[in-house]
Structure formats: structure tokens, C-alpha cells
Symmetry: C2
Subunit: 144 residues, 2 copies
Amino acid sequence: MLSNQSKYAIRAILCLAINSDSKKKMGSKEIAEKIDIPAPFLAKIFQSLSKAKLIQSIKGPNGGFYLTKAEKQNNLLDVIACIDGLDKFNECFIGLPKCSDEYPCAIHHIVSPFKTKLTEELTSKTIADFAEETKNGKSYIFLK
Amino acid sequence: MLSNQSKYAIRAILCLAINSDSKKKMGSKEIAEKIDIPAPFLAKIFQSLSKAKLIQSIKGPNGGFYLTKAEKQNNLLDVIACIDGLDKFNECFIGLPKCSDEYPCAIHHIVSPFKTKLTEELTSKTIADFAEETKNGKSYIFLK
DNA sequence: TTTATATTATGATAATTATCATGTTTTATA
DNA sequence: TATAAAACATGATAATTATCATAATATAAA
């Protein structure tokens, strides 16, 4: 349902949301180390996110990545859409090319409400919201 | 969460449950064509299922695959466990190596109840149950 | 006992995804 | 203006997954 790339992107962007702003940028290596994922891979992911205007990237000394206030108001489905595309996210759980409420797969009635709920959560809550929860110790983005 | 192999395995074993018994076996090619998946790949999947005693395979002329009554009482999580293993099925949605009720990821509270429910459905309902629903037109295993 | 049919077993190829490495460009600052 | 620190861009490698092909084995029936 999600590629590793998307998973990493979500964790990384939450990390940025928590620790960065225009005055306090972060290097991709620093973040990669923090959330324990391969650094060059994250660099590549950040390029995609940057092109899609989901994160800020500043070159040169004291450069790095950060999120503007506006960008912290984006949601996580934007991130998934940017990396994986939404087709992958929406595909049928047991791989039917067409699976719908009208012609459902065997477990559609379980998966469908979940996906609805998840999609709602991933669109209605902002990155800032998720970051806040993590700050408050309600959830985590790295666990060794 | 599920590999293509598991997805195919589920659809194929349901196809078997619906169309086969000890007197009416099915060839793997026939099934592959019916549910529109690559035939040699299904043959490989059937080997695994056969070794795990989840399906019957009879060699020679008029041979083929089928499910005994007992095998129709198995559940779909057995199939997933056989092909992917349960680790893959249970892994965190955003890839945290350790994600639990105590130390949850950002969306654990959504994913966790879903997984509980899905696991329950996939263990409590038998293959025969799912097959019955498909026979009754309540769900589908192939849709072009 | 031979033959045809079907699975079994194994390995080769292809495609995708993930990871790593390198050189280029940008830009703040000394 | 030179330098160094950082992202950018690109491509190479590795690992995993999916797909395809072929030879071996088993067995019912002629």
C-alpha cells in the first residue's frame, strides 16, 4: 500500500516539522541519522518533495531543509501522492484490477471503511497536527 | 502489506474452493487464466501451498489441484502466513521497526483496529465461507 | 509397458525498488 | 574573489520481487 519511499518521506517530513523552521534548517544526513534510514536515499526523496514544493531547500553554507508555516499546513496524503501516486494507495487489497463498492473483492467491506477513515485522517489533519502529537509524546517517528 | 504472491494465492485458492473437489480437479493454467494472473507464477505459488498442505495436488493425467473439505475449513491468514509470513503482514504502516500500542506511530490508532478486525475476519471465516459469498454474488475474485 | 498428461522442481530472466557513489551547482562568508 | 558547505542531478550497483522457461518426475490409461 505504501512504498518504503513514502514511509520514509512521512517520517522525514514529520521530523522536519518538529525540528525545523526558516531559522533552523536541517541537513538530510542529520535527519536520516535521526530516523535511522539510508541518507542518500533520503536525499533523493527530498528532491522529489522539494520539486513538489512540499519542503524548502536552501543551498550553500548554513543551508538545509525546512518547512514554512504554510507547508506545515499540508497533509500527509499530499506526501504520499507526491512519492507513490494515489493509484498505489487506492489499489485493491487482494489485487483485483477493478474493485468497487458495486463489485467488491472478498474483503472489500473491511478494507473500504478503513481506507475511508485513513484517507480522511491523512487529509484533514495537517503535518503540524501530527508533529504536535509527536512533540507531546503521543506518537513516535523513530523507535529503536 | 501483502505481496502479489499472497494476493494471487488468495484469489487462486478461492477459485479452487468454488470450482473444485476431489472429483473435479483444476489445472493451474486453467485457474491462472480464470483469475487473469501469470500461469507459471501461479504454478510456483501452488507448490508452496501444496507443501504446506493447504491444497491437494494430483499428478498425472486427469490430475490437477483441488481442496478437500477439511482444507476448505482453513482460513486465509494461513495462506498469507504460508506465502509471505506473518511479519510482513504485521509490520508498521510507516515502517517503524518497533511500533506498538505503547509506542505507537503517528497513525497507529487508525491502523491497529483495522488490523485487528482484518485479522479476526481472516482467521474466523473459513475459505468455504468466502467461497460461498462469491458463489452468491456478494463478492468477486476476478473482474476485468 | 509405453505413452501422454499433468505436476514438480529448479533455475534463468526481467522488472522494480532500494541503496550507494560521484561530480556539479549554488551561495554565504572569510 | 576564493573557499567551503550544502543541495542538486545523475547514474551505478545491489537486493528483492515477479515472471518465464525447461527438464524431471509421477501416474492413469491404452
